[in-house]
Symmetry: C2
Subunit: 398 residues, 2 copies
């Protein structure tokens, strides 16, 4: 890639690294503005971060969101969005957008998949209609949508697949990544590769090496947080990051719990996305600096104070915990909104504190003190819940 092209495509500027961890701050430079990293991207699969308006997201300070090519390809169709002037205009969001390629969704949501080297044939999870997707088509769709960062098509094996199966998927993902690169026409979108290889260090090594040799605008780590133990996730992240170039952004897909964000940043990750903060909000689970608590709990029924006293989000500035509890008990839609605002504000504040701590050289102590007071959701409960969730394929938020 020539120097000229490199300056036009999505760029990344490293600002500061942490002296005693791999944590770092930087900036993604895009056509729609600069995004400070490490950054968390709320998930807006269907061109809407569930329940919220663009103005509410901006009010929280969200700099960038994720949308999903698979979902938008099926509904309303990429052609419709093109005729509406592109994805930014369609969803009235003038800040940066990343579109996921849809690989993950095809392998988790769609039915009757037939993968070949050419591409993947699947049936829509909505109406059963048949579709054939190739790496070239995925790039064309994402160029039409017009996001600032776009992703290669990848094949996602299950977290407990055999080495052979994972290796086959990885090799195919590498070939597809190359085809995506060759198919790219627009130079104002950053194309990110996705490192695969499951929980096998030797495969992750091969994958990172192969993809970095091709030269992408950024590197995502895919195929994690799919039900494997957290220790394994973090080890794979550490191994993989060590093989990625310093000068390019690293994106850990599907991670969004507060403790995982901190651990990811400590291992050198710059970007995250996850439906978790917004999905659990709609179930009534709200973040505090001490852990996640469910607003449906009777303890909140008479609480005149805000859910999280001192929290500066709209919800906590305006309403009592008792009111929020009442809305959830009555299944009132306003409750889902207010909880979503609170959770996204919490995660956004956390990322801000993380960035400030890295700049101040105090990231490690910030991380220690956060983890000392924050009680994560019980690991076994988390895994059970996650596996159940994947099994039910109730992935409507992803």
């Amino acid at each position: 890639m020539s120097g000229y092209l490199a300056s036009v495509v999505m760029d990344f500027r490293l600002i500061q690294t942490c002296p005693d961890s791999k944590a770092r701050t930087g900036e993604l430079i895009t056509r729609h503005g600069i995004v400070p990293t490490p950054v968390f991207l709320p998930v807006g699969s269907q061109a809407t971060v569930k329940t919220l308006t663009p103005e509410e997201l901006k009010g929280i300070g969200i700099p960038m969101v994720l949308a999903n090519t698979y979902h938008l390809y099926l509904r309303p169709g990429v052609g419709v969005i093109e005729r509406m002037g592109g994805l930014h205009k369609f969803m009235a969001w003038d800040r940066p957008i990343l579109t996921d390629s849809g690989g993950y969704q095809i392998f988790s949501l769609a039915a009757l998949r037939q993968v070949s080297d050419e591409g993947v044939l699947f049936r829509s999870h909505i109406d059963g209609s048949k579709h054939f997707i190739t790496p070239e088509l995925v790039i064309q769709l994402q160029e039409t949508l017009g996001a600032d960062i776009i992703m290669v098509l990848d094949e996602c094996p299950a977290y407990d697949d055999s080495l052979e199966k994972v290796q086959t998927a990885m090799v195919r993902t590498h070939r597809w990544a190359e085809r995506c690169q060759q198919a790219q026409r627009r130079r104002d979108q950053g194309l990110y590769a996705i490192v695969q290889g499951g929980i096998f260090p030797e495969l992750r090594h091969q994958s990172a090496k192969h993809l970095t040799s091709l030269g992408f605008a950024g590197y995502a780590i895919g195929g994690l947080s799919l039900g494997e133990p957290k220790e394994v996730t973090l080890d794979v992240v550490k191994e993989t990051v060590s093989l990625l170039p310093e000068t390019k952004p690293r994106y850990l897909m599907g991670v969004g719990s507060p403790e995982d964000l901190l651990e990811g940043v400590a291992r050198g990750i710059d970007m995250f996305d996850s439906a978790l903060p917004t999905r659990v909000a709609r179930n009534g689970a709200l973040f505090t600096w001490q852990g996640r608590h469910n607003i449906r709990n009777a303890v909140y029924s008479q609480m005149g104070q805000p859910f999280a006293p001192g929290c500066d989000c709209y919800t906590c500035r305006t309403f009592s915990a008792a009111y929020l509890h009442h809305l959830f008990i009555c299944d009132e839609l306003l409750g889902y909104r207010l909880a979503t605002i609170h959770n996204l504000n919490f995660i956004h504040s956390l990322m801000q504190k993380i960035r400030n701590a890295i700049l101040d050289g105090t990231f490690s102590s910030f991380k220690d003190s956060f983890l000392a007071s924050y009680r994560p959701t019980n690991e076994q409960a988390r895994l059970d819940q996650k596996r159940k969730w994947f099994k039910s394929r109730n992935l409507s938020n992803k």
Copy 2:
């Protein structure tokens, strides 16, 4: 009531009457501000106008909302709201509120009703728990909630009940109204009576005469818009209004379609409430000056313009019809919000135009020209829909 008390309680100031109809403009003067009439009150039964924040309601210009004693008595309980500092503070709404007594809900939602002169025994539609409500209790509950306007407990017969049945209910409603009046302790809330009598002119006559002789702050017309033909509704309204005092506000309960608002105003009504504009919004039915249209219709799937070009609501200022269509097709919660904003903005604009026309002396021509271009929902479809709706008791919005 002494002159002193009269000046402290809810007051009404008549400003102008229409030369060729009964239409009039005025002002309700309350502790929480002045409300220009004719006014439409959005329904927030459970202390929330479904999907919207107080700020959004204010952004539209909504001056006053309705909440429901029956719903709030069951959840979260009136005691909780008292401890939270009253209903205004609980729902973070500092403009006027009217609480309905719950009479209508007890007779439409609750199960196993046993009505006696003393009061009404019913089972909660939520958990089947047994409750005994009296006129005195209803006043006490509403004094605790602290709305600006409160309503007497009434017995609501079905629209097709016999004259004898309707008469019995009416006589009881009269006795209950007197007991409500005697039970009232707070003098800063306006207590409104509810004229009953079904579709029988002679009963309406008796009811209006009896209740006005008792002297209330305002008079509601209840027991209408329950499935009877629209012609009948309008005749009863006309008859009843002619028997009510000029100096007091008149409130037609449960009416909220654009054409009915105009007809009600023309017959001298000052206040309306209905869940219709918000309920149909969540079904995708949006108002235009030509009639109601459903955003799910395929005609909107490719429309780059707003749903109602020229409309000044947030939804139409920000998004294309195609985007709103997409949200509804995907059952995205943001769609329900955006449609609710549009419909409430439409009704609010309509009421503003009505008030201006009365002030300008052009109400009759405004009404004619509105009705010439606005195509109401087909009368038979409307009745069928309404009866089906009442039958299913799916009154979650009321």
